[in-house]
Symmetry: C3
Subunit: 137 residues, 3 copies
C-alpha cells in the first residue's frame, strides 16, 4: 500500500460528519499524507457555493443534547469544517472532487460549487489513484 495516500468517499452532508471528515483530512495532512476526496450525494450538496457556510444540521442520533454541544464548541473555536479544509489545503495536498454522477443527480454545474472543489470526475478516475485506504464517510 502507498501509505502516503488516503482516499475518502464523502457521502454525508450533516455538519457533524463533515467536521469528522475535515478532522481526518487534517490529521492525514499533518502526517504528510496526500488526500483525495470524492464528494457524492448529500456531501456534494453541502459544497454548493450558496450553501457551504449555512447550517447543514446534524445526524439524527446526535439528539438535542449533542446538537447543543456542537453549537457551544463552534462558538468556542470560532471555526467550522470549511475553515479546517482551507487550512488543510495550505498544509499539504488535498484534492476535493465532485462525483460526476451526483452532479447529474443534483442537476449542478461547476459554477454552482464552492472553490474548495477543484475537479469533477467519475468513480473510476477516483479509484485509479486510490492506492491506500478507502474511507467512506
Amino acid at each position: 500500500m502507498d501509505d502516503d495516500r488516503l482516499s475518502i468517499v464523502l457521502f454525508s452532508g450533516t455538519d457533524d460528519r463533515l467536521q469528522a471528515a475535515a478532522t481526518l483530512i487534517s490529521g492525514a495532512v499533518a502526517m504528510g499524507r496526500s488526500v483525495d476526496v470524492l464528494l457524492q450525494y448529500w456531501a456534494l450538496d453541502a459544497f454548493r457555493a450558496d450553501r457551504i457556510n449555512k447550517d447543514h444540521g446534524v445526524s439524527a442520533e446526535a439528539g438535542v443534547e449533542g446538537a447543543a454541544a456542537m453549537r457551544r464548541q463552534r462558538e468556542r473555536e470560532h471555526g467550522t469544517w470549511v475553515d479546517l479544509l482551507h487550512q488543510a489545503k495550505t498544509l499539504g495536498e488535498v484534492n476535493i472532487s465532485a462525483c460526476s454522477h451526483s452532479m447529474e443527480m443534483l442537476e449542478l454545474t461547476r459554477a454552482d460549487l464552492d472553490r474548495l472543489v477543484t475537479n469533477v470526475h467519475g468513480i473510476a478516475t477516483f479509484m485509479a489513484t486510490a492506492t491506500g485506504p478507502i474511507t467512506f464517510i
Copy 2:
C-alpha cells in the same frame, strides 16, 4: 497491501447508500480490482429476494428535495443499484456474502436471499481475505 482487493462491510439498507456502494464496487471492478462484500444488518435485509427490487427509502439527511432528485435520476437512467451490481459481476470478481450473525438476527435462511448473494459466513472468514482497504458503508 494487495491493491487488487477491496473489502466492503455493507451495513446500510437505504437506496442512497446502496447506490453509493454499487458505484464504488463498479469503479473498483473497472480498475481491475476484486471486491468482497459482507452484508450486515439493514443491508442484508435489503437483499432479501422479496424486497431487493422494492423502495428502501433514503437516509434521513436526504430530505424531501434530495429524495426527489434521486427519483428523477432513477427515471432518467432506467436502472437501479441492483442492475449496477449485476453488471459489475459480469465485468470482474465481485463476491457478495451474507454475515451469518446478521442472518440469525433477521431469522433468514439462504433461500430468503436474492441470487446476487452467493455465500454465508462469519466476520473472521471475511477478514481472512481482507488484504486491502476495508470500507464500511
Copy 3:
C-alpha cells in the same frame, strides 16, 4: 501496507453500529491483527461510564421491525457489544482511545469514561500509527 493493523474511527453511537464495529474488531483480532479505535462524537458519548450499558437506540433506518429483531437477538445471546469488546481485548491488541477534540466538545474528562478507553489523544497521533486500512463507522 501493514496488514497487521486496522484503524477504526468510531463516530456513531447507536447500538446497531456499535455492534457492527465490535464484530469487525473481533474478526480482525481473530485473524491476528492489532486494532486502534478512535472514539469521536456520539460514539465517545456512548462510552461514558454512566451510559455504556444503557440502551443507545438504533439507526433511523432500522425501523420498528429491525429494532425488534435486534432485541430478540440480544436476549438469545445474553451479550452486548460491550461484552464483545472486553472479549476482543483478551484475545489480542485492541487500543481504544478518545479523541481529545470530541472530549472538549462533550465537556468530558477521563474520569467520565468507561475503563475500555485507555487513552486520550488527537487525530494526528491516531493517524501516525494508521499504517493499514482506515475504517469510519
